[in-house]
Symmetry: C2
Subunit: 519 residues, 2 copies
């Protein structure tokens, strides 16, 4: 634990069992490690993801054997797809006990590999500290990811000499000058072109440089559909998100002759559909990789901007920032009235979004109106479901709130997704976290109602429909939140929602609003 703290990992999200009791007991000897209990492992791993997306540093997890890891896999999958550094500590049976195949034994490595960029099971007590230091470094990549360290119980209860020295993480480097020049050449051709941004390109520095590139050569500025964490508002350049549905994405890219990838893969559809291409780039469009996931994307974008403009990067940046600042806070939506819908809820959020807000967005089908409603608001961070495994949002908001004390976290949740890892609300209550959760309550797996016909499954009969509806009985999110110690209210029209949201955002601590959408 001292090695972790010395390596910069001083937050641990835990759901421990017997084999992790030494780690737990050590908390009283290492006050610099902050341990935060989750009541389910998906809450733990999602919180670690949210913490690192906001802080840029990994948190540790503490999970109990294979089944505990299993419960955390969905949100580790999301962390993997978001390239989030996580130091994923999994306790195991004592090495001497595994030969007996006790009830909780299972193949932890097989479970961990699909979500991990680094995996190690410590072999001796002396290795534990140095393995932990290496896990921290490995989690940074680049690109970042989940470093899984398995800690057998008997190694944990054996005395060792002391902590290990931190291990230096590899640094990101800009892409080569040749690579930049090749892209610059393509863009100078004047043929229709777009920059397609993802990952680390979506922070202020990368966005400003990308905008400068696009303005110089007349290219479009696109970004991935579900960014891990995009900096927005306050006049920042607002790249156009590629639509979720393949047909719309294909239509958007029609006519492009050059697509420049920046910390993102070439766009593919989320799911395959009969008779719709899964690869979304037009056949006659040349794909250029400006920056890989491991590269320093913002610096590479700036190098491209410099190459295209021929001017010194510092003055160019100063100009962009000045221009950006000028347009702050223009055009926020009015407070909505009338029925509560995805659209009026988005307007209320856009009207009230606080300066420096951190948004965890798992609103899924209810998210359609949110980007436009919030783009002209104050500066904020917006985190999406990059990996697609639902149950991310409430834990992610929880971890983000730990990382961002003093900032308001807004957790935008679809009702179906909220039911996967709602236990994180209890952690919000226990830690007094400043999180406002909005449940977009349409009593349906709405996305599946859309998808059912799109995959050629035909019209849904009543028995199929029953698998997609969340009514009979209706979920009562106010009671569920209350059950975990989070005060909650229900809104059934736009005025109620706006008033309740204003109150929740102005008061400290967690709150939940059940936004019952008109169907």
């Amino acid at each position: 634990m001292r090695t972790l703290v010395a390596s910069g990992v001083d937050v641990c999200f835990t759901n421990p069992g017997t084999s992790e009791m030494q780690f737990v007991a050590t908390l009283d000897q290492v006050p610099d490690m902050r341990a935060i209990l989750g009541l389910f492992e998906g809450a733990v791993t999602g919180a670690a993801d949210g913490y690192a997306r906001m802080s840029g540093r990994p948190a540790a997890t503490l999970l109990h054997l294979g089944p505990g890891l299993g419960n955390g896999i969905a949100n580790l999958h999301n962390a993997r797809r978001a390239h989030t550094p996580v130091v994923n500590i999994v306790g195991d049976h004592a090495t001497t006990h595994l030969r007996y195949d006790p009830p909780l034994a299972s193949d932890i490595e097989s479970l961990a590999r699909p979500v991990s960029i680094w995996f190690r099971e410590s072999k001796t007590a002396g290795d534990l500290a140095s393995d932990a230091a290496e896990a921290v470094a490995a989690s940074f990549g680049p690109p970042g990811g989940v470093a899984t360290l398995v800690a057998p119980a008997d190694l944990s209860w054996t005395e060792v000499a002391g902590p290990a020295a931190p291990v230096k993480a590899r640094k990101r480097e800009p892409a080569s000058a040749d690579c930049v020049e090749e892209v610059a050449k393509a863009l100078r051709s004047g043929e229709p072109a777009a920059l397609f941004l993802g990952g680390t390109a979506l922070r202020e520095k990368g966005l400003l440089a990308a905008k400068a590139v696009c303005e110089t050569v007349g290219a479009s500025l696109l970004c991935e559909t579900l960014p891990a964490n995009i900096e927005r508002g306050g006049g920042l350049p607002d790249p156009e998100r590629l639509p979720y549905f393949a047909e719309l994405a294909i239509a958007r890219m029609e006519g492009l002759r050059h697509l420049v990838l920046v910390d993102v893969a070439a766009p593919v559809s989320f799911f395959a559909y009969p008779d719709v291409p899964g690869y979304l780039v037009p056949g006659d469009c040349e794909v250029h990789v400006l920056a890989e996931h491991a590269d320093d994307a913002p610096a590479t974008l700036q190098a491209l901007a410099d190459a295209l403009s021929g001017v010194d990067s510092r003055s160019e940046k100063a100009d962009s920032t000045a221009e950006a600042s000028a347009s702050i806070s223009a055009g926020r939506p009015d407070r909505p009235t009338g029925p509560l819908t995805a659209e009026t809820a988005a307007a209320a959020i856009g009207a009230l979004l606080p300066e420096g807000a951190v948004v965890s967005d798992e609103s899924n089908t209810s998210s359609v109106f949110l980007p436009a409603a919030t783009v002209n608001g104050p500066r904020h961070d917006w985190m999406c479901l990059t990996g697609g495994a639902i149950g991310q949002g409430i834990p992610l908001a929880t971890g983000a709130a730990i990382a961002c004390s003093g900032r308001k976290v807004l957790s935008l949740e679809a009702d179906g997704s909220a039911m996967y890892t709602m236990q994180a609300l209890w952690t919000q209550a226990r830690e007094g976290l400043d999180v406002t959760t909005v449940i977009f309550d349409n009593r349906s797996y709405a996305i599946l109602n859309w998808e059912l016909s799109r995959v050629g499954a035909g019209a849904a009969g009543p028995r199929a429909k029953a698998m997609l509806e969340l009514d009979h009985p209706d979920l009562d999110f106010v009671s569920l939140a209350k059950g975990m110690g989070v005060p909650a209210t229900r809104a059934t029209d736009a005025e109620q929602f706006t008033t309740q949201l204003e109150r929740a955002l102005s008061e400290p601590g967690p709150a939940l609003i059940d936004a019952v959408l008109q169907r």
Copy 2:
């Protein structure tokens, strides 16, 4: 789906996504398949386990890609350890789409192998039906287990000729006559001996035969600590459960010279502890394997009884049954009064346990008094946490209720464990299942408070303690149940608990009692 139904699998617990929409749409064409929606995959896999433990037949699951499987792994681990047949259907991306590594793609096989006795990803649409028939047969083993079938979306949307013919499952056979004779010889020695029963030996036929053996040779009758499903009450022989804690188990077996294993492995401790043996059999005790997991354990026990007694098995069986019936329902506990504790709660349950009850027991530390309180009650089934992955109980009860229409299901839940897969309460409400849930509410991971000192981690300081306590804030299980449509009450003394339990057991449909235990 028609293949599944023809193979005897006509219940499917589902939490589908886009890649499973064809399966869902087909429900309206195959009315013999009953689909039951769960709001989280752990609820789905645990329900499939409970269904098969009670019906003896597998249910199908329907899970969404790797992350959906991940969420179901903990309860599939429990099914694996309980040797429960489960046909675990996992949808995947279209085979043509996987090459693009879309966001939800992951290594499903690596995730599935640790919990599966059989794994296959269908390669063509034509294979899907025959693979399904093989999965059903494979799930039976023997011993039973999880057969995972991965169904890529494009195979599901391709037309095929029709269903496949069912595949015959392998049958269990009794152990060889030589094996029986070897055990008989050891038992005839007159040296201290015990039968140690597990798995399929713990049903009426096996219990009666085992008791006959023990009475003939003066051996003890022991069984595994956490049976998957033991038949009890109504005068059935009641094997002594091996204690959970290693020291107690070792003390219990001290002096034994012969331990006869019947559908169970030699006993090992659940966890390792410093300076305590993990293998619990005394050094001078000979271990005899009478029946492996795959054998017909009850028939083998009967053969052993016959070999020892020299009499024909049919008359012996009749005698045992008659004797058993004579002692029905003697000695149930009185209705308790005074403070509500694990002991008085157990007394109330013993006093009120209905004829034919099905008990899902995940009461963990609160379970200490339950076996003695219920053993003299009417005939019932008692299912334990064989695999040790908490979060089993509420889903298991849900699936058992689907299998056992007309019988009352009693779901005994520790508060900490209840928080893992509580979503199954909603399925109980939706399906109107006859399940009474009791939350043993001690506001603590009580087992970890016990284990912390036992693993040599020393006295817990306040920061360690905070990781083991479920207060700050207290969980309000009445609100949580209400939030999912299950009526609930709170009991704070023994009379209240008894009255509430009596009402819940006498009324149809789901109910939950928050039993707040005196600390």
